[in-house]
């Protein structure tokens, strides 16, 4: 077998990147504990399911973006980790997740779209043979519109933010679109959010999006980690 042949033989290597966008405002209280608990056991469950399918993930990275409200309290409107490699950096992940406290937010809506934009712009893995780039967003509230002055004037507001939902959608992209920053065949978005703007519209317009609606202000009782595991394990 020559070198060119060997380049295309061998076992397929799977890269999985997951960004958890977690609403950490006061109203999330009990559900935040549930999200945290599941996040901490997530990689083990994923490995188990992948093993049952005879597959092994070659590289698993998780990143957490906790969000609140720039307009309410810019100091902790966003708390985030880098992509953390599992299992090597599991301790770092665990420390961050355990440290999340439901606080602030003021009145609804929250800065969920900013968190989503930061997730879209994350440094996703581009190598290995097959990739899955998954954003999971948990919130019980609608989101401020992008470009809202109450948000953008906050000193901590990220410069990279798209100025509108249209611009954010361009970054999410569709096949062959020029402005997309995500890899179309790899990306998935799971929305655990109420049927409020802009989540329902995103679910309507964005491809590769799974929407699990909840009632605003009534928590996220129906969300299940299995939906996230399925999204990864069944599509690699």
């Amino acid at each position: 077998m020559n070198s060119q042949q060997s380049q295309y033989s061998g076992n397929l290597k799977y890269a999985v990147d997951i960004v958890l966008c977690i609403d950490a405002t006061g109203s999330m209280g009990a559900i935040l504990d549930q999200v945290k608990e599941s996040a901490l056991s997530f990689h083990q469950r994923l490995n188990t399911v992948m093993g049952e399918k005879g597959k092994a993930i070659s590289q698993l990275r998780l990143k957490v973006i906790a969000f609140r409200d720039f307009g309410d309290h810019p100091d902790d409107a966003i708390e985030a980790t880098d992509f953390l490699l599992f299992p090597d950096q599991a301790t770092q992940f665990e420390r961050f997740v355990r440290g999340l406290r439901p606080t602030g937010g003021g009145d609804i809506p929250e800065s969920g779209l900013e968190a989503l934009a930061l997730a879209v712009q994350a440094p996703w893995e581009r190598g290995l043979d097959r990739r899955r780039h998954v954003i999971v967003l948990f919130t019980d509230a609608p989101a401020h519109p992008l470009g809202s002055p109450a948000q953008t004037r906050a000193y901590s507001y990220p410069r990279s933010m798209p100025r509108s939902i249209t611009e954010l959608f361009e970054q999410w992209g569709v096949p062959h679109s020029q402005g997309a920053v995500m890899e179309n065949s790899a990306k998935r978005l799971l929305l655990f959010a109420p049927e409020e703007p802009p989540w329902a519209q995103i679910a309507d317009d964005w491809n590769n999006t799974l929407y699990f609606p909840s009632e605003a202000g009534e928590g996220l009782e129906e969300w299940e980690m299995d939906e996230i595991i399925n999204t990864i394990a069944n599509s690699l």
């Binding site: 033989s9 061998g10 076992n11 043979d129 790899a186 309507d204 399925n230 999204t231 069944n234 690699l236």
Partner: protein
Amino acid sequence: MKQGSLLRDYLITSKPTNDGAGKCVWAFAQRNGREYFVKEFLEPKRPRPESMATPETKRLQHAQCAAFERRHRSVIRRIDPTDLDAGNLVTAVDFFCEGTRYYKVTNRLYPANLAAPHRLTPHQKSVLLGTLGDSLRLLHRLDIVHGDLKPQNVLLHRPPDSDLYTAKLIDFDDAYVSGEPPEHDLIGGDHKYGAPEWFRYLRGDPAIGGDALTTAVDLFAFGLMLHTYLTGALPDHDPSHTSPGEAVNAGAELQLDPRLDDRLADAVRALVAVAPADRPKVNKVLRLLDDRSALALKADPAVRRPGRVRASPNGTSRSAPPQPTAAPQPATGPQPATGPQPTAAGGDRPTRLRINLDGRAPRSPKRPPEKDEG
């Protein structure tokens, strides 16, 4: 779609889920007293007039929708439901776009709960594998590659008052016209049953263009499925490889179960050849599957063919549990492995008695089973 809501005139009767599905969510539904399986695709989305997309993105979305519809409708159109071999293909009864999303509807199936098909009698195996081969022959005659052939996409059906099982082939979402697969980063399939050329195409090997992915991709998977249905496990291979196709692609040899009849072993060995052109057509294999003596396993597992079948280096697969042939979790979303049974697939197209096109005797599900020789 939501449980309890109407999608066109389908009443969604279960909570939509992505269980067993990577590129869709699915649910069960009812219409006019009949039960259906409804799949909602994650992609493409047809842009709303008030969509947040720019005009250029809307143009791209419309183009993608048109291509998506063409691919699905071309497969649907090519398969004539009245064809003699079409009775065990579970094809779409409806395909439409509602709002921004695409949906595909098939009849709901109630598959038999059969955990170990390899323990069936040779006659039962002949019927099961023959009906699977018939479906594959039809697809290949129409130049269609199923693209995701695996036990999870075969539902076993037992007609009323029969001990025989037929194979219902499901999930044509990854199907394509032979030689015209989706782009390498979009092509579907399962690495456990993937052919060597599929692996190379998926990796972007410049030597493997779309024209290299033909119906022979299915034949490789068919060979692995024959081995699985007959012995209860995939062929063994060096444990450094995670699937038979990867092993063959790397130049390694698969170790077949030595209990296989020599003729069957030769057929499986040919089906899993590294070169697509070396794999025999379905018709040739079907003739062998009609010979029940070829489907009985040898009693003495020590019988080997020197120089052709090597000892397993890990010795694990032979005793591994059987593949989930009753298909509780197909990629399209599971049809329940248990439940009201047996009924025909959706009640409209039961397995039929018929004369095969090549003049072979029909495979009747009414013929009595024979003693298990497995």
